[in-house]
């Protein structure tokens, strides 16, 4: 989640609240966790739906509204002096432009503004792929007539931000840090989108601005360009910036965006009207609110209320709230405006489960009881295993993870023993014997499954000691099968698995169902993975045992 860092004094000044604790409490109720860091800055974790709160000014505004210091207001365009002629760039067709006056930057405001811009880029803007923002000193703008189009990167030049050399766009893309980071996003052969003013490139979205219109601590009026692949998204971002910059009382100037087929006025500051059904509010939240409490809550969350009736309230959604998709989003704001602690709680009626006697969980419980009783220590291991280890043990059917962060966790186990052998390898120097078990899930190929792999619940127990302990592993099997009532149907048949020494392993059958195997791990395998103690183990499918039991018990229940 994005984090806004600001000096507490700054936020206290902007909100007019003098207590940091009161401020933090209000932020908590507005979805934001906060803490004062070691550098003395207040770090505020903002939620990704509220991009209007990605700026310090936006946070201050939300706090002031919540505490009733400010009332919801609408803002209006003070004319539209800019014209933007668009030849839609292939990879980035949309643009929105606006300006805000009397912002009066200083060193801190400038820093916060740049951080706000980056926050929007990194999250909502999908690292500038979806949306990118350019900020300009309006008073340095060559002309109020702008162009937005693809330009030839070899034939066009510009002075990139914080540089003084004029260079070709190709050079900008190839030689600047920003160019190497973002240069490939909108590049289309030898064409790249650019914004021009008076024939001069002022911005190369989504890469870099021109130095000509660079912001400084003395900038008073700011021109904003927002470009992207989604017309709705750029509008939402532009409005969140206007929301932050108008905090200081300036005016908003708009632009006419002239596409080949239409003309659009940006920004769109109109407030949508949405109807909130009071029955829905009660139905969803479970509160018996009088309308006045709900109206108050709405205002504290920045909504102007247009109409109130017995059945519904029509509200104006503030222009900067792009996250409202459905009346349920307003219902949440009503809950926040009321305060979650004021909603109260209503416990639910416990309902006795009509428990089935034979559940997989019940079988697992018996298995665990028996193994614990026989002195095995239960393990809790990761399903993720190194692919190489599984292969070294002779298992090539493990599912590979395409984007694993390391080779230690680049596959999912197909057998529990793959996890357990790792534990035993790490436990060679503790008092022996080491007797362990785990009940857990593995992932095996499934050709008939829609998702190609399925989980299987298994149990594996193993003994590592200075000598092979086959008899004990074998005895454990019989004890377990007796407890499950399956001992009489149990049979062992010769096995052929590369994990085990030939003639020193067995497949385990209950009637005709193969439920697992056991054996002594082959010395060569042990050597390969670095284990110097004999290991004997058994692995059974609890899913298979469960179906055997289900078939066995069902008929007897019917009689």
């Amino acid at each position: 989640m994005p984090v806004v860092r600001v000096r507490p004094e700054t936020l206290m000044r902007l909100t007019g609240i003098n207590s940091i604790e009161a401020l933090r409490h209000t932020l908590f109720n507005l979805k934001c966790e906060s803490e004062v860091g070691e550098d003395g800055q207040l770090a505020i974790e903002v939620q990704s739906d509220r991009i209007d709160m990605f700026s310090v000014e936006g946070i201050a505004k939300a706090v002031r509204l919540y505490l009733g210091i400010d009332k919801p207001i609408n803002i209006k365009l003070k004319g539209a002096p800019f014209k933007v002629y668009v030849k839609p760039p292939a990879k980035r067709p949309f643009i929105a432009v606006a300006a805000v006056t009397n912002v009066g930057l200083d060193e801190e405001k400038l820093r916060l503004l740049i951080e706000f811009q980056e926050r929007l880029h990194n999250t909502f803007g999908r690292n500038r792929r979806k949306v990118a923002i350019g900020l300009h000193d309006l008073d340095k703008l060559p002309s109020a007539e702008l162009e937005y189009k693809d330009v030839n990167i070899d034939e066009t030049t510009m002075i990139p931000l914080h540089d003084f050399r004029r260079m070709s766009i190709r050079q900008v893309l190839e030689s600047t840090e920003q160019g190497s980071l973002y240069g490939s996003i909108a590049l289309n052969g030898n064409l790249h989108p650019a914004i021009l003013s008076g024939g001069e490139v002022i911005s190369l979205p989504p890469v870099i601005n021109s130095d000509i219109t660079r912001l400084s601590e003395r900038t008073r009026n700011i021109l904003i360009d927002v470009t992207g692949t989604d017309a709705n998204a750029i509008s939402i971002v532009l409005n969140s910036i206007i929301h932050a910059l108008t905090f200081y009382g300036g005016e908003v100037l708009g632009a006419v965006i002239i596409y080949p087929d239409k003309a659009v006025l940006t920004p769109d500051l109109s407030s949508r009207i949405m109807r909130v059904d009071l029955s829905f509010v009660r139905y969803w939240l479970g509160i018996e609110g009088e309308s006045s409490r709900i109206v108050d809550a709405l205002m504290r969350m920045g909504y102007n209320v247009k109409t109130i009736t017995h059945d519904y309230i029509d509200v104006e959604i503030p222009y900067y709230r792009g996250d409202i998709l459905h009346q349920v989003d307003i219902v949440e704001d009503i809950a926040i405006g009321l305060g979650y602690e004021n909603i109260g709680i209503e416990e639910i009626e416990p309902k006795p489960l009509i428990r089935k006697k034979l559940t997989k969980q019940a079988v697992i419980s018996i298995v665990r009881d028996v193994l614990v009783g026989l002195g095995y220590v239960e393990l809790n291991t990761l399903t993720l295993v190194p692919r190489k280890l599984a292969e070294d043990l002779g298992f090539n059917d493990v599912v590979s993870i395409v984007n694993a962060p390391s080779v230690e966790i680049n596959a999912l186990r197909s057998m529990l023993l793959q996890s357990i052998i790792q534990v035993l390898r790490n436990s060679q120097y503790i008092p022996q014997p080491v007797k362990v078990f785990e009940v857990g899930e593995v992932v095996v190929p499934c050709h008939e499954c829609y998702n190609r792999w399925r989980n299987e619940v298994k149990v594996c127990w193993a003994i590592m000691d200075s000598e092979t302990r086959f008899e004990e592993v074998h005895a454990t099997l019989y004890a377990l099968m007796s407890e499950l009532g399956l001992a009489e149907n149990l049979s062992l048949r010769p096995c052929n698995m590369s994990l085990f020494t030939e003639g020193r392993c067995a497949n385990i059958f209950v009637a005709d169902a193969n439920i697992g195997f056991m054996g002594e791990v082959q010395p060569e395998k042990l050597e390969k993975i670095g284990i110097l103690y004999p290991i004997t183990l058994a692995e059974l499918s609890i899913d298979s045992i469960f179906s055997v039991l289900a078939n066995k018990i069902k008929p007897s229940l019917q009689t």
Partner: protein, 509 residues
């Protein structure tokens, strides 16, 4: 290492001797005089270490005593051995005698060698045998050092130095000149402190440490004395078989949920993105779907059989369907939704299980989920989610807060608070913070009412409350564990030594 228990309050009856104690006493009677321990061990045929512990017991029973004596052992050094025939100063004097009583020092060095000559000249001067003036040595007198050589010969092989030799100035000189090396060793002698007669009575009765079936069956138990148990020695360490503490924690949650009437559900780890994201109304370009955050596997699922769901997902994502929402206003991709991944949360499972289910439903799952994280103290690429949903007539957000309170209280958390939050698939959303004594406030779950868009996709007509919780995080706070990797420890010793009693902390904050 284990601490040795202090010796106290054990009353030892002197007449109860074990068979090994009897063997020692018998041998001491036979030898009839104090005997050195290693020698005694040899005679009995046991290790010296084994004997020592038997002697300790006999000592405590006031039958023997152990006397410590130290002695000096001497042996000639390599240099000393080379002087066995004559010492350097003797060689210098003999040479001078041969050449008529005087010779230049250089001449002596040439014929005896530099180092022997130098040592010899110094000692000859010290003894007053020669004088050196202007580089010439003159013989004054000479008496062969017979005694020196005799003592050197005595210590050619290592032997004890008796008192008279130890005090002899010649011996002391040889030691000082490092021609003989000495070292002090301690010896322990064992001596009976009871008379031989008393000792014989002591060993005449047989004491046994184990009552056996044979003794009982033959009645011979009457003829022996059962020795008291040795309560001083610590027993060998044994480890009980036991359940893993984290799985116990999960079982405890399972019990709580079943008491509230929730049914456990399951699904595979490998699922299409459809279940993990799309049915939860997460836009396909949402950052949490980025491959930097989730783990993916090769290939696609065949989701064509879920045609109904797909139709609704597409409509709701693109324009809101008939949910009353605007939707995300983009082109939804079936291919993206089919991509296989490791589930990153179990809401993927609870939500899927609501599709086509008749209300009411109370469902939960406690299962593993996967994220693209490298393991460190606070992150694990795999961890456990506890998710639940409730779909009932008249279920509300207020009831959700009530249910969450019930769950928290039932698992032993008495102090908690709710904070507004954001999740893409719930509205309102809430985060629960729990106060864990000795730890502080931690975020324990995220919850909320499924958005109408989600309900539309699932085909659900009633409000649904949902929550998800990271189980490890809460277990760590409760158990006082500060590294998540310890919950998946590959060190059996860690599990063996994790005291079972800690699970009781849960219910006694």
């Amino acid at each position: 290492m284990r601490a040795t228990k202090s010796r106290c309050s054990i009353i030892v009856l002197p007449h109860l001797l074990s068979s090994s104690e009897v063997a020692v006493v018998e041998k001491l009677i036979e030898v009839g005089k104090p005997i050195e321990i290693s020698e005694l061990a040899k005679l009995i045929g046991i290790s010296e270490q084994g004997l020592s512990s038997i002697l300790e017991l006999l000592k405590s029973k006031n039958i023997i005593e152990v006397i410590e004596e130290s002695k000096v052992i001497g042996k000639v050094t390599e240099e000393g051995a080379s002087y066995i025939e004559s010492l350097p100063e003797e060689r210098v004097c003999r040479l001078l005698q041969e050449v008529g009583g005087e010779a230049p020092v250089s001449e002596i060095k040439r014929s005896l060698g530099e180092s022997i000559a130098s040592i010899g000249i110094i000692w000859a001067i010290k003894r007053g045998w020669i004088k050196v003036e202007k580089g010439t040595a003159k013989l004054i007198s000479f008496a062969p050092l017979d005694k020196h050589r005799e003592i050197l010969k005595m210590f050619l092989s290592e032997r004890e130095v008796d008192k008279s030799i130890e005090n002899d100035p010649v011996f002391q000189e040889l030691v000082k000149r490092k021609l003989i090396e000495i070292r002090r060793v301690k010896q322990r002698f064992v001596r009976l402190i009871v008379s031989a007669e008393e000792a014989r009575t002591l060993i005449s009765k047989k004491a046994v440490s184990k009552l056996t079936h044979e003794l009982l069956a033959t009645g011979k138990w009457r003829e022996v004395i059962l020795k008291p148990f040795n309560l001083e020695a610590l027993p060998p360490i044994t480890y009980p078989g036991k359940r893993h503490f984290f799985k116990e924690f999960i079982d405890m949650i399972r019990d709580v949920m079943e008491d509230l009437g929730f049914e456990e559900i399951h699904d595979d780890y490998i699922i299409p993105e459809l279940w993990n994201f799309d049915i939860l109304f997460q836009a396909q370009d949402h950052p949490s779907r980025d491959i930097h955050d989730i783990l993916i596997v090769e290939g696609y699922a065949d989701i064509s059989r879920f045609d109904d769901v797909i139709k609704r997902v597409r409509a709701v994502h693109e324009f809101g369907g008939s949910s009353g929402s605007t939707g995300w206003r983009y082109k939804w991709s079936l291919e993206k939704a089919s991509r296989l991944m490791l589930r990153s949360h179990t809401t993927a499972v609870t939500a899927r299980h609501l599709i086509g289910r008749n209300p009411p439903a109370r469902l939960y799952i406690i299962g593993r989920v996967f994220r693209r994280d490298n393991p460190d103290p606070r992150h694990s690429p795999e961890f456990t989610n506890f998710d639940g949903v409730i779909m009932e007539e008249g279920f509300t957000f207020r009831k959700l807060l009530g249910l969450l309170s019930q769950i928290l209280k039932a698992i032993g958390i008495e102090k908690f608070k709710f904070k507004p939050a954001y999740f893409p698939f719930t509205e309102p959303s809430v985060e629960g913070y729990a106060y864990v004594p000795g730890y502080g406030w931690i975020e324990v779950f995220g919850a909320g009412m499924f958005r109408p868009e989600v309900l539309e996709i699932l085909g659900v007509k009633l409000p649904v409350g949902a929550w998800g919780m990271g189980v490890e995080r809460l277990a760590m706070a409760v158990y006082g564990i500060n590294d998540i990797r310890l919950l998946f420890s590959r060190d059996v010793e860690f599990v063996r030594r994790f005291p079972s009693v800690k699970k009781l902390y849960l219910t006694s904050p």
